[in-house]
Amino acid sequence: MSRKQFSDLLQKYNRGECTPQEKKFVENWFGLLGDEPLGNEQEPDWQVLEEKMWDQLHTKIQESDRPAQGSGPSGNIRFLWIGLAASVVAIASITVLYRHQLMSVFSDQKTVASTWVERENNSTHNETINLEDGSIVDLSPGSSVKYPVHFNSTKRVVYLTGKAFFDIAKNPQRPFFVYSDHMITRVLGTRFYVEEQKDAETPQVEVVSGAVAVYENSNEKKAAVNNVVLKPNQQTKFFPGAHKFVTGLVQTPKMIAGSGNSDRFKFYNTPLSKVLENLHTSYGIDIILQNRQMAACPLTANLTGQPLYTQLDIICAALNASYKIKGTSILVAGKGCKDDHITTKT
């Protein structure tokens, strides 16, 4: 019996189309499988595994049980927008106050609230600064940051010139703001880069994990509505001349926290739609398949250890498809696949 015949037999078994004799045969064969001791494979950590799988299962069930909502992710953004809009007014007025006093704040280190500290990085490597709330600032060479010894009770504020990476302790009661010359970046608890060099053309914010909202730092009314919300692996650049934010993806998207599983990127005849869903969950980036006929195209490949764009290159090469980045989404398109299953060796 050829492999194909055997595979057909197994399919009949799965569909309940076997004769009694065929059924017995498959079951006997199944009974004989797996006699070899699993020498190379370690005993799994059962406790950890059970919890992890229950969490995933639990989430899947909640998702499938939830009644269909109008528009998933954008609905959330809209909600977030409304929430933030309410505080934008407050920011605008505070901005007025601070902007006028900005120079004095930076020069004589005195404000109403508390003692401010200015740290300037004159070395050639990054400097780490620990803030009162446990947040960490990784200051790039040539940059400076100004922060209070004790944060205000309603919000946490720092001022930045140059570039820094922020790892902010989560505290929804005290939102964290990074002020730079043209931008205000508002966070809840997250990790992200802010870059606004003096006299630089385009200040930018890049999110590694969590979410931030970025506003134009200006006392003009239109600044209040000029903002973007960034999710992981997204970045935005601000063009002061045009008062515009341009939002896209970071150059090297990283997997978002909690995605550690060494077999995650191993695919066996996995339909393309599931492969893309997997990438979406791993990186938090919207990946949209433009041609429905490609959804079922099976992919067999091991994409472990490759950066996202390389993974997409491999997938597209295997399935004769292409992808392009549009804003904060990735669009995948292709003509479809023939009946053969296609594999790649990586």
Binding site: M1, R3, G31, E41, M53, D263, R264, Y268, T300
Partner: protein, 182 residues
Amino acid sequence: MSILQSSNEVLVERLRKGDQLAFKEIYSRFWKKLFSIALKKVNDRAAVEGIVQDIFLKLWERKELLSIENLEAYLVTAVRYGCVNHIRLSMMHEKFELHVHHHYPQEISCTEEHVDFADLMASVEKVLCSFPESSQQIFRMHRIECHSAKEISCKLGIPQRTVELRLSKVVQTLRIYLDDYL
């Protein structure tokens, strides 16, 4: 009654009514067994996670339609179907790995011996029937219904050592016939 003490039948009844705690208890009771069975048959951790997840997911999704007499048997059967499905798909993968290696532009022609399928099935059946009834039963209970040697020993009233010996005789003989497919 504490859920921890509920029988499987009671759990199924509660599950049918949408009881999430019953579902969690069923998961806790059987998850490891299903995972272990699948891991022996399909040596791929990620695939096994998927297979087991699918079973519980479907169990929840179809809870109102469930008509289960024996919960354990139902789940063991489900994991068997899941494994068979996975193996079938990965068989096709191997076939095409060969394809890629040899760069055949068209579908590869099989170089394996074309043993007549009907003959093979008949041979396997014959050799199995040549064993005493109890040995056949032991094989079925251990390898297909996935009971432990201890459980079988209790159910059939045969010493455990005897169960193990009879089992290995059947397995050794059958392996000769089905070696190509294992």
